[in-house]
C-alpha cells in the first residue's frame, strides 16, 4: 500500500506530466519532480481516523484528496492451460483539490493496462483530463473509465464487475464475481503509513473469480482465474530517501492471501504487509516480519531486475520461492516499472502479482550495489 502510494504519486504527478507530456526531460528534472512530492498536502483533505468508510459513495472519486486509484490484477489460465496475467489500473491525481468545469478541472487521470503471457508482455497507457468526461468514476451504477477502457458494475457495489481495455496489439473483456467480503485495511480502512502519522484510506476485494476473452496478436483466448482489486486514496506524499519498492500480492492455494512489500532505502529497507485468512480476516503484519530477498536477476530494458525471490514469513511458517511468469514484464509507460504475474512454490503454493520500481540503469543499480 505504501508502495502503491508511492507509485501513484510518482506515476501520476511526475510521470504523467513529466514523462509523457515532457518525455524530453532529463532524468535530473524528473528527480526534481520526485523531490516535489515531499511538500505538504496544502489545501488537500487529509485522512482522519475514526471516520468509517461509506459505501457505495467511497467506491467513487475523492477529488479533495491528492491521489487515488482503482487497481485490478488477475492471474488467468487459457482453456489450453497456459498461464497469463492482466493488469487494469486507473489513477487519479489532483493538481489542486476539488473540481472545475471541463478543461479548468485540476484532476488528471491516467490508466495502465497490460497482458502478460510466458513469452510476451503487452501494455498500454491512457491519459485524460477530469471535468471533460473523458475519464472519471461514477457511483451508481459503479463505472470507472478512461476513453473506452472501463471497469463497470451493474449496480453500486463492487460485487460483480466487467473490465475492458484495448490497444493496438491487445484487448480484453472480462467478467468478475466477488467470492468474499471487502477487506478494510488498518483500522476500518484508515491505514497508517508511518510513525509521523501519515495515512491513507485503503480497502480491497482480494477474491474475485474472473472469466472472459483476451485478444492477442495470435488470436482470441477464453480465460478464467482469480483477481484482486485495490482501492486507496490519500494526500500525503512519503519520505524522499527511498529508491524504490518491491510489492507482492500472493494468493495461496490454501485459500489464504499475503500482501507484503519492501521499501528500499539507503538507511535500510522497510518491510510490511497483511495476512488475509481464508475467511477474509485481516491480520496486519509487524514491521520486518515480511522478508524478501532476490534469488536471480534478469536484464530487462537495460536494467538488472530481480525476477526470482525468496519470501519468508516466519510467523506463518511460510518459506516460498516467488518467480516471474515472464521476466520481461516491463511496463515501458511514462513512469516505467516492472509488473507481472508470479508463481509461488515451496512451503506454500499459489499465484500472484509482483511489482518492482526504482531499478535504474545498469551502472547505478547493479546487483553488486545492493546488500
Amino acid at each position: 500500500m505504501i508502495a502503491r502510494a508511492y507509485r501513484a504519486v510518482f506515476a501520476c504527478i511526475s510521470t504523467a506530466i513529466l514523462g509523457i507530456v515532457f518525455p524530453a526531460l532529463p532524468v535530473s528534472a524528473q528527480t526534481q519532480g520526485y523531490a516535489d512530492l515531499g511538500r505538504a498536502a496544502t489545501g488537500f483533505a487529509v485522512p482522519t481516523p475514526g471516520v468509517p468508510l461509506q459505501f457505495p459513495a467511497d467506491h467513487g472519486a475523492h477529488p479533495d484528496y491528492r491521489i487515488e486509484w482503482w487497481y485490478l490484477t488477475a492471474n488467468l489460465q487459457t482453456e489450453t492451460g497456459e498461464d497469463l496475467g492482466i493488469q487494469w489500473t486507473l489513477f487519479r491525481s489532483a493538481l489542486a483539490p476539488g473540481e472545475g468545469p471541463a478543461w479548468q478541472s485540476p484532476q488528471i487521470w491516467m490508466a495502465h493496462a497490460a497482458v502478460t503471457t510466458p513469452s510476451d508482455h503487452h501494455f498500454a497507457e491512457r491519459l485524460g483530463r477530469g471535468g471533460t468526461g473523458q475519464a472519471g468514476v461514477e457511483i451508481a451504477p459503479f463505472t470507472a473509465w478512461i476513453d473506452d477502457w472501463e471497469l463497470r458494475a451493474p449496480d453500486a457495489s463492487l460485487d460483480r464487475l466487467a473490465v475492458t481495455a484495448r490497444s493496438e496489439d491487445f484487448a480484453y473483456a472480462l467478467d468478475l464475481a466477488a467470492d468474499g467480503p471487502l477487506v478494510l485495511h488498518g483500522s476500518d480502512g484508515y491505514s497508517v503509513k508511518s510513525a509521523q502519522g501519515q495515512a491513507s484510506y485503503y480497502y480491497a476485494q482480494p477474491a474475485y473469480q474472473i472469466t472472459g476473452q483476451i485478444t492477442l496478436p495470435d488470436g482470441s483466448h477464453r480465460v478464467s482465474g482469480t483477481a484482486w482489486l485495490d482501492r486507496e486514496w490519500s494526500s500525503q506524499p512519503l519520505a524522499p530517501d527511498q529508491s524504490g519498492w518491491d510489492w507482492f500480492s500472493l494468493r495461496l492455494d490454501s485459500g489464504e492471501a499475503l500482501m507484503g512489500f519492501v521499501l528500499r532505502s539507503e538507511q535500510g529497507d522497510f518491510t510490511s504487509g497483511t495476512w488475509i485468512t481464508a475467511d477474509g480476516t485481516v491480520e496486519p503484519l509487524h514491521p520486518e516480519e515480511f522478508q524478501a530477498a532476490p534469488l536471480a536477476w534478469s536484464e530487462v530494458a537495460g536494467r538488472q531486475i530481480p525476477t526470482r525471490w525468496h519470501v519468508t514469513l516466519d510467523s506463518r511458517q511460510l518459506r516460498v520461492e516467488v518467480g516471474a511468469l515472464n521476466p520481461q514484464a516491463w511496463m515501458g509507460t511514462s513512469f516505467a516499472y516492472w509488473e507481472g504475474p508470479v508463481t509461488v512454490s515451496g512451503s506454500h503454493t499459489g499465484r500472484g502479482y509482483l511489482e518492482m520500481t526504482g531499478y535504474g540503469e545498469l551502472r547505478s543499480n547493479s546487483p553488486s550495489n545492493r546488500k
Binding site: I13, A16, I17, L18, I20, V21, F22, P23, A24, L25, P26, A29, G33, D36, L95, A96, P101, A102, W103, Q104, P106, I108, A124, L127, G128, R129, T132, G133, Q134, W145, D147, D148, R166, S167, E168, D169, A171, T215
Partner: protein, 805 residues
C-alpha cells in the same frame, strides 16, 4: 581518347570569348534556376521546422463544416476508443497586435514535448503549464513585442512561428472567453484495434489528411507562390539552354577541320563522340559550380523580398537566413549536366554526321530543317489548342499552369513558321535586289536562329504578361484601398474600456465613428473573420462591392444578412443570395461580395446589431473616425491624443495606412521585376551566341554578295538591320502572347492561387520601353559579328570560294 579530348579542348584556347560565353550562359541559367530553388527550399524548410518539431504536420484532423466542434463530440470519440487530441484556435489581442492563440491538451498534444524543453532551463515547475494562471509559449520576437504582463507566465519557444501563442486548453478558454468548443481534433498516430469508423461515429465532421490549423502546413497556401517561382526559374533555365545550344553547336562547326584531321588520323567516331561528351560534362561541371555560387548570391539578395511577400500575402512563417543544403547543390549540378546534355544533343548529332560524311553540309541541313516548318506549325497549334482546352475546361492551379506552359510553348513553336511566312510574304512584295537578298538570307538562317528567337519571344511575352499582371494588380489595389479606407483616422484601442472611451469622446465632439467589431469563427472548416459594422453612409458609398443584391446594405442592417469577401465566395462557391453557415443554428443570407486583396482568409461583414443579438464574443480594437465639418483630421488626432492620452502610434491617418499598404504591395513584386529583367538579359545573351554560331556558317553566303560589289560596311549595316528586324518581328508576335499570358495570370492563376479575380489594364508605355530594350539587346547581340565583318580580311572572303570545293 585523352589525346582526342585534348585536341578538342585546344580549340577553346583560340576562342576564349566563346568559351567564356558558353560557361557564362550555362552558369547564368543554373544560377537563376538554383536561386529560385534555394529560395523555395528555404521557405519550405522554414514552414516545416515549426510543424515538424511540433509533430502535427502529418496528422489528419477533423473539423466541423459550421465552425466549432462541441466538447461532447471529442469526448464521444475518446469514449469510442479513438486516440485524438483537441485544439482550440482563436484570435487573441493582448495588446495592439492580434495573435493566433492555440489551445491544446498538453496531455495528448504531440507538440507538448517541445513545450517541455524550455521548462527545465528556467527552473519553472513543469506543472505550471497546467496550473493557473498557466504558461504561454511563443516565438521570442512575439514575446518581446506583444506579450507583456498578460497574466499567464510566458516562455520563449524558438520553433513556433511568429504571431502564434501556444498554451493549454484551459488557459486558451480563459483568454478567449469560450468554453466547451473546439476548433479541430487531431487524430494521433497509434490507434487501438477494432475501432468503429469515424464516418459512423462523427458523420458531421470533415476529415482532412493534414492539420490545416495555424500550425498546419503553410505549404498548402503558399504552393501557388512557389509554383510561380519554379515556373520562372525553369523558364530562365530554358532560355539559358538556348545559349549553350548555340555555343556548343558553333564550337563543333568551328572544329570541322580538326575533326576531319582526327578522323583521317584514324580516331573512331565513337571516341570522338565520347570526347565531346566528356568535354560537355567538364564544361557543365565548371559552369554548374559557377552557377551555384552565382545562384546562392542571387538568392541571398532576393530572399528578404520573398520572405516579405510570403509573410505579407499569406502570413506564412519564414526565417530570414539562407543556408546551404546538399540537396540544393546536387540538384543544381544535375540540372546543369542534364541541360548541357540536352543542349549538346544537336552538336553531338552534327558531329556524328560530320564525322561520317566529312562534307560541308550546313546549307543542306538548313534546307532540310526548313522543310520541317510545317511540322513546327502543326505541333505549335496543337499545343495551343490543348492549352486552350486546359484553361477552358480544367480546374485548379496546376491546370492553370499546365495550360500556361502549353500556350507559351505552342506559341514559341509557331514563331519560326510565322517568321518564315512573314519573310516569304515580304520577299514577294519587294523588288529591291539587296533587300530581297537580305530577306532571303534571313529566311535561310531562320532554322539556326529560331531557338534563340524563341527564347527571346518567351522572355518578351513573360515580361509583358507578368508586367501587365503586376501593374493591373497595383492599379486595382490602390483604387481599392482608397475605397476601403473610408474614414480619415484609424484609432487602435488598447482594450475594451479605452475603445468605449474613444466612442464616447467622438460622439461628444461631433465626430462620426466607425467601430470595427470583430469575431473570429470558423465556417466551412476554415477560419472566418466576421466584422460587425455600424450603419454609416460612408460604407454605403465607398465599400468596394463586386456583386450585390439590391438594397444590400439595408438588408445587412435590418435583415441580418452578410457581405462576404471574394476569396470566401470563390473557395466555398458562394454567390449573392446563398446562405453562409456561421454556427450550428445560424445561417445568414449573403447579399453581396466585396473585393479584399492581400488577405488569404475568408472574411464577412454583418450588421453590429445582428452580432449583438447573437451575443457572439466581439472584440473592438480599431475605430475609424471622421472629423465633424470644419475640423481637420490632424486637429482631431491631436485632440484625441491630448484628451485621452493615447500614444501617437495608436492613431493612424488614412494616408499613412495607404502608403504602408502600397509599400508592402511593391515589395511583394520586387522579385518578379528582378526575375523579369534577368530573363530578358539571358534571352539577349542567347541571341548573341546564336549570331556568333551563325557567323562561321554565313561566310559562304556573304562572300558571293561581297564579290558582287556590296561593301563590307554595307553588309555590316544589313546585318544590323536583319538582327533588329527579326527582333522587332519577334516582339510583334510576342505582344499578343504576353497579353494572353497576362489574361491567364489575372483571371485563372490569381483566382486559383489567391481567390481574387483582377481586371486587366493595358500599359502601352511599358511595351514601348520593352521594345526599346529588345532592340538594344538585338543590336548588342549583332555587334560582335558586325565588328568581325567590318574587319574581315578580303582574303578570307575569297578563300570561301576555294574552300567550297
Amino acid at each position: 581518347m585523352i589525346l582526342t579530348l585534348r585536341v578538342l579542348l585546344s580549340h577553346w584556347r583560340h576562342a576564349p570569348l566563346q568559351l567564356g560565353l558558353l560557361i557564362l550562359g550555362l552558369a547564368l541559367a543554373t544560377a537563376l534556376w538554383s536561386a529560385v530553388q534555394a529560395i523555395n527550399s528555404e521557405a519550405r524548410a522554414s514552414y516545416s521546422r515549426a510543424v515538424e518539431q511540433l509533430g502535427t504536420r502529418d496528422l489528419p484532423s477533423l473539423t466541423a463544416p459550421d465552425g466549432d466542434i462541441p466538447l461532447a463530440t471529442y469526448v464521444a470519440l475518446r469514449r469510442a476508443g479513438w486516440q485524438v487530441s483537441p485544439v482550440l484556435e482563436g484570435v487573441w489581442t493582448p495588446a495592439k497586435e492580434s495573435l493566433t492563440l492555440l489551445g491544446v491538451d498538453v496531455l495528448s498534444y504531440p507538440g507538448a514535448a517541445l513545450m517541455a524543453q524550455t521548462t527545465p532551463a528556467t527552473g519553472l515547475d513543469p506543472l505550471a503549464v497546467l496550473r493557473p494562471p498557466g504558461t504561454l509559449y511563443a516565438h521570442p520576437d512575439t514575446l518581446a513585442h506583444v506579450l507583456q504582463d498578460t497574466g499567464p507566465r510566458v516562455m520563449a519557444l524558438q520553433e513556433l512561428p511568429q504571431g502564434i501563442v501556444l498554451t493549454d486548453l484551459s488557459v486558451a478558454e480563459r483568454l478567449l472567453g469560450t468554453s466547451g468548443r473546439l476548433s479541430r481534433i487531431l487524430i494521433l498516430p497509434d490507434q487501438p484495434m477494432g475501432l468503429l469508423p469515424l464516418t459512423q461515429l462523427v458523420p458531421e465532421l470533415e476529415l482532412s489528411t493534414t492539420d490545416d490549423g495555424a500550425l498546419g502546413d503553410p505549404q498548402r497556401l503558399t504552393q501557388s507562390f512557389h509554383l510561380n517561382l519554379t515556373a520562372f526559374g525553369l523558364l530562365a533555365f530554358g532560355v539559358g539552354l538556348f545559349i549553350v545550344q548555340g555555343s556548343v553547336t558553333l564550337s563543333v562547326e568551328q572544329r570541322r577541320g580538326t575533326i576531319h584531321t582526327l578522323r583521317c588520323l584514324g580516331v573512331p567516331v565513337a571516341t570522338l563522340i565520347q570526347a565531346l561528351l566528356l568535354e560537355l560534362v567538364l564544361l557543365a561541371l565548371v559552369a554548374g559550380v559557377l552557377g551555384l555560387v552565382l545562384g546562392y548570391i542571387v538568392a541571398g539578395f532576393l530572399l528578404p523580398d520573398v520572405n516579405a511577400t510570403l509573410r505579407g500575402l499569406y502570413g506564412a512563417p519564414v526565417a530570414g537566413a539562407l543556408s546551404l543544403r546538399p540537396g540544393w547543390v546536387l540538384s543544381g549540378l544535375g540540372m546543369a549536366l542534364a541541360g548541357t546534355g540536352l543542349a549538346g544533343l544537336q552538336a553531338l548529332l552534327t558531329l556524328k554526321h560530320m564525322a561520317t560524311q566529312l562534307t560541308q553540309a550546313s546549307q543542306a541541313v538548313a534546307r532540310r530543317r526548313a522543310g520541317l516548318i510545317w511540322i513546327w506549325a502543326i505541333v505549335g497549334l496543337l499545343l495551343i489548342g490543348l492549352a486552350g482546352g486546359m484553361l477552358w475546361g480544367g480546374n485548379g492551379l496546376v491546370a492553370g499552369f499546365v495550360g500556361l506552359a502549353g500556350l507559351m510553348l505552342g506559341c514559341a513553336l509557331l514563331l519560326p513558321p510565322s517568321l518564315f511566312w512573314a519573310l516569304t510574304f515580304w520577299l514577294r512584295m519587294t523588288r529591291r535586289p539587296v533587300l530581297r537578298w537580305l530577306i532571303a538570307d534571313s529566311r535561310l538562317q531562320l532554322p539556326g536562329l529560331s531557338l534563340s528567337l524563341m527564347a527571346l519571344l518567351l522572355a518578351i511575352a513573360t515580361n509583358i504578361g507578368v508586367g501587365t499582371m503586376v501593374s493591373s494588380f497595383r492599379l486595382t489595389f490602390t483604387g481599392w484601398i482608397d475605397q476601403r479606407l473610408a474614414a480619415d483616422l484609424y484609432v487602435e484601442a488598447a482594450g475594451p474600456q479605452q475603445a468605449q472611451a474613444i466612442l464616447t469622446w467622438a460622439e461628444a465632439r461631433g465626430a462620426r465613428s466607425l467601430p470595427q467589431y470583430r469575431w473570429t469563427t470558423r465556417s466551412a472548416s476554415a477560419p472566418l473573420l466576421l466584422y460587425g459594422v455600424v450603419d454609416d453612409p460612408l460604407y454605403r458609398q465607398n465599400w468596394p462591392l463586386l456583386r450585390s443584391l439590391p438594397d444590400a446594405w439595408d438588408r445587412l442592417h435590418s435583415k441580418g444578412a452578410v457581405l462576404i469577401n471574394e476569396q470566401l465566395a470563390h473557395r466555398a462557391d458562394l454567390a449573392p443570395g446563398d446562405m453562409l453557415a456561421l454556427g450550428p443554428d445560424w445561417s445568414a443570407r449573403i447579399v453581396g461580395i466585396y473585393s479584399d486583396y492581400g488577405n488569404p482568409d475568408g472574411q464577412a461583414i454583418a450588421g453590429i446589431t445582428t452580432l449583438q443579438q447573437r451575443a457572439v464574443p466581439l472584440t473592438l480594437r480599431r475605430i475609424g473616425l471622421v472629423p465633424p465639418d470644419g475640423e481637420t483630421p490632424e486637429g482631431l488626432a491631436a485632440a484625441l491624443r491630448q484628451d485621452l492620452a493615447l500614444p501617437a502610434s495608436a492613431i493612424l491617418a488614412k494616408d499613412r495606412i495607404r502608403a504602408a499598404s502600397v509599400a508592402v504591395f511593391d515589395r511583394t513584386f520586387v522579385v518578379t521585376a528582378a526575375l523579369n529583367v534577368l530573363t530578358l538579359g539571358v534571352a539577349g545573351f542567347a541571341m548573341l551566341t546564336s549570331f556568333l554560331s551563325q557567323w562561321s556558317r554565313r561566310l559562304p553566303q556573304l562572300a558571293p554578295v561581297w564579290a558582287m560589289g556590296v561593301s563590307r560596311r554595307q553588309l555590316a549595316g544589313l546585318e544590323l538591320l536583319r538582327s533588329l528586324g527579326l527582333a522587332l518581328l519577334t516582339f510583334v508576335l510576342a505582344l499578343p502572347l504576353g497579353l494572353g499570358l497576362a489574361w491567364v495570370l489575372l483571371t485563372v492563376i490569381n483566382l486559383e492561387a489567391f481567390g481574387w479575380r483582377l481586371p486587366m489594364f493595358l500599359f502601352p508605355a511599358d511595351w514601348a520601353r520593352l521594345l526599346g530594350l529588345t532592340g538594344a539587346a538585338a543590336g548588342i547581340a549583332a555587334l560582335l559579328p558586325i565588328l568581325r565583318l567590318l574587319h574581315i580580311p578580303p582574303a578570307r572572303l575569297l578563300g570561301v570560294f576555294s574552300n567550297d570545293r
